[in-house]
Symmetry: none
Subunit: 257 residues, 2 copies
């Protein structure tokens, strides 16, 4: 770990606090909305809230670990003996990244067998992707970061391929009023996930220590908020829109909006 200026330390600390507040609020938003959607979409909202709940817990712990990892001396923050616990992020991703794919699959209301098979294969690929990234993240060697980062890209690219090929057809079969949103949710998944390797490799291209720390920690925090809370809002909107659709059909004498 390297010495940080007060501004650098505070920026990261505040990013963690912002992450906790956003993810905790998103959790409550998704769960309080469960009563508003049709039964077949309730599990999707429960899982969406689980993802942000797990992430909020980890941001709380990450904030504590950050406080313990530095001490103020002569106007700069110097590392203490307690190293900042980067593993919290990976433990979080191990749980939440497969669940993010499960959310998307659940809100699409595929057949039971397709739901199970796609959730299993995409979930396992996501687990592998996260697990392969960890050895590079904790290594001090830039080449280890490259090797494990590139290995981790293999399951990532497979997931992207699945989201556009296999799941692409299912997306085109979504009800018309939700199709655009499901497509957007799929694109936000891929787009926000692309941010992680950029941050990851920022630690491998020889950026200066303190600047690299700021980029990595703030970058991951922004990516987590978009990929979990932002993506979750899309899942919520899809569930609402599809619930509305059924209601409209049942009450066909009432003109559609």
């Amino acid at each position: 770990m390297e010495t940080l200026s007060i501004g650098q330390y505070d920026l990261i600390y505040n990013a963690f606090s912002f992450g906790f507040a956003t993810l905790a609020a998103a959790t409550l938003f998704f769960w309080l909305g469960i009563g508003q959607v049709k039964p077949q979409y309730k599990t999707a909202l429960i899982v969406t809230g689980l993802v942000t709940f797990i992430a909020a817990y980890h941001y709380f712990r990450i904030g504590q670990s950050w406080s313990d990892a530095y001490t103020l001396a002569d106007g700069t923050y110097v590392p203490t003996e307690k190293v900042f616990n980067a593993a919290y992020r990976y433990v979080d991703w191990l749980l939440t990244v497969p669940l993010l794919l499960v959310e998307l699959i659940l809100v699409m209301s595929l057949t039971r067998s397709e739901t199970v098979s796609r959730a299993t294969s995409l979930g396992l690929a996501a687990l592998l992707m996260v697990a392969l990234g960890y050895p590079g993240e904790v290594s001090d060697s830039g080449s280890m970061r490259w090797i494990f980062g590139l290995l981790s890209m293999i399951p990532f690219l497979w997931i992207v391929y699945q989201l556009y090929s296999g799941l692409g057809k299912a997306i085109e079969n979504q009800p018309e009023n939700a199709r655009g949103l499901v497509r957007l949710a799929r694109n936000v998944t891929v787009g926000s996930w692309c941010f992680y390797p950029v941050v990851y490799f920022a630690g491998a291209v020889g950026l200066e220590g303190a600047t690299a720390t700021v980029i990595v920690e703030v970058g991951y925090t922004i990516a987590d908020i978009i990929a979990k809370a932002g993506f979750g809002v899309l899942i919520f909107l899809i569930a609402m829109r599809k619930s509305e659709d059924v209601a409209d059909r049942n009450a066909s004498t009432v003109p559609a909006e």
Copy 2:
């Protein structure tokens, strides 16, 4: 207690945090799903969430006790005066292990008298199993660990016998769409419980200190997650499947998806 490397200490610390996050998220998942199942399965989901709630509480305490039990000195973690409280696990198991069997019995919707008699006999056997293991766990003597470990195996084997003989018949009488899942839940119970004696006796076969600590703590954590959260997901799926079955029968004019 023995000196641990930073990697060993962190691995155990992160396993405890992962255990807390998984069990807390599982609790909320089960309880938020209560509204989705038929009334006769609600108690099964309430109990399923109780088990993971109790376990999440204990993992939170175990994590704190772990932090207090070691201090960083010259790059290694050395034990403090405060010994790590292994009793949290046994207190947890005293409550949760009988309840795990109750979950399985409740979701099977047996007759009231069979539910009461099986829950009582299996619950008491589980209590005895956990209570007999404790004196061996806290003893420094390998032979004490063997004696109490083997005594604890007697109620364990009786439970396994009951799950396959007495309860086996009831499982074959489950509705067809849930039978495979109930059978799987029974097998996961026995399979995941077999992991505990393996970890327990790892402390008796003379493994080296620090390595044994890592195996015991990480091993118990993985076993707890599978036996409580993983098993709970199966109970949830059984309750959902059986609720669906009733709904389908009541609305037989509506074609199945």
